[in-house]
Symmetry: C2
Subunit: 190 residues, 2 copies
C-alpha cells in the first residue's frame, strides 16, 4: 500500500493531535529502518497504522479481545494496552494488510514482547522518541537510538516501568519480560 | 524451638554482621507481628532463620535448587535470590523445623510471591526496614509499616524494582507479580 493512501485511511481514525504524532512516528521509524537495515516500507506502514484503533470504544476493544481470544490478562491491566492488539486485528480486517511482520509490529508496540523482531523494536522506539514527545528521559533514548536500538529499547522500557511504579500502577508482564530478556539475553532474536 | 537455642544454631551459620542484621529482623518482625495480630513466636523463628543459607556456596545452592526441583528460573536470575528457598529447605532438613508457615516465610523473603501470607509480608518488610538498614527510601517504608503492612510492602517492592532497573539488572518475575497483585487486588490473600 502506498504511503498517501495509508495516511488517508488512518487520518479518518485519529484526532489531529494523534495524526501529527503518527507522522512523527512514521518519519522516525523510516529513519531508524534505514539506519539499522530494516525494510523501510514495512517500517513506514507499521508506523502509519500503529495507533489505528486508538479511538475505538472500550466496549469494542473488550469485545475483540474476548472474541479473538487475545490474552485475557490484557483486561486486568491498563486499557492503554488494548489498542495495540486490537489495532493489529482491525488493520488486517478493515484495511486488508496481511503482512505479519507489520501486524506484529502494531500488536506489540505498547507492551513489547520477548524475542521481538527488529521491526517491532523500531516501531516501539519510534513511538517513544518521535519529535512530538516531550518528557523526562526522552532525549537520552533519542541519543541511544542513534547508536544501538537495543539500548534505546532497554532505556525506554526502564523509563516506562519506573513511571508506572511511581504512579502505583501495575506493570504488564510482557513489558517486564521484554526488559528481562534484553538484560539477560542481550536482545537476541534467534 | 526456644529463641536462645535458635539463635545459637543460626549464629554458627552467619558472619557477625549478618547475625546483627538477623537480630534486627527478629526484633522488627516480633514488633510487627504484635501490631498486626500475627503469631509472634512464628514471626520470631522465621526471622531468626530467614538468612540461614546466606553463606552456603553457590555450588551447594545450585545443587539443592536442581535436586529439589525449585523453579529453574531462579538460576537465570540474581544468585542473591537463591538463599531464600535453599534456606527454607535446609532449615527443615538440618534444624528440623516443620511448620510450613515459617518455612514459606523464609522461602519467599527475598522474592515475595502473589497471595503471600501476613507472616510472609511481615518477614519481607522486617528484613527491609530493620534498624541496621540504611538506604534511600527506608524511612518511608518504616513509617508505612506503622500504619499499613501492605503499603509498606508495595513501597519496598517499588524501591527494590527501581533499584534493579537503575542497575540494568533483571527483575525476578515473582517480584513484579507480587507488586502487581498488591496494586490490582489490594493484597487480598483469600
Amino acid at each position: 500500500m502506498e504511503r498517501d493512501k495509508a495516511l488517508k485511511i488512518v487520518e479518518k481514525q485519529l484526532t489531529e493531535h494523534r495524526y501529527v504524532h503518527t507522522i512523527g512516528v512514521m518519519e522516525t521509524a523510516t529513519y531508524l529502518a534505514e539506519k539499522y537495515n530494516e525494510n523501510v516500507e514495512k517500517a513506514e506502514l507499521s508506523a502509519i497504522f500503529h495507533d489505528y484503533a486508538k479511538f475505538r470504544s472500550k466496549e469494542e476493544m473488550k469485545q475483540i479481545i474476548s472474541e479473538q481470544k487475545f490474552s485475557p490478562l490484557l483486561l486486568e491491566y491498563n486499557s492503554e494496552l488494548w489498542h495495540a492488539p486490537v489495532g493489529a486485528f482491525l488493520v488486517e480486517k478493515e484495511v486488508g494488510i496481511k503482512d505479519h511482520a507489520i501486524l506484529d509490529a502494531i500488536k506489540f508496540h505498547t507492551s513489547g514482547r520477548p524475542y521481538m523482531s527488529l521491526l517491532e523494536k523500531i516501531i516501539y522506539v519510534a513511538d517513544y522518541i518521535e519529535p512530538g514527545r516531550h518528557f523526562p528521559g526522552v532525549d537520552e533514548v533519542r541519543e541511544l537510538a542513534e547508536i544501538n536500538i537495543d539500548k534505546a529499547l532497554i532505556k525506554s522500557l526502564q523509563n516506562t516501568i519506573m513511571f508506572l511504579l511511581k504512579k502505583n500502577q501495575a506493570v504488564y508482564p510482557d513489558t517486564i519480560q521484554t526488559y528481562n530478556w534484553l538484560v539477560l539475553e542481550g536482545g537476541r532474536t534467534i
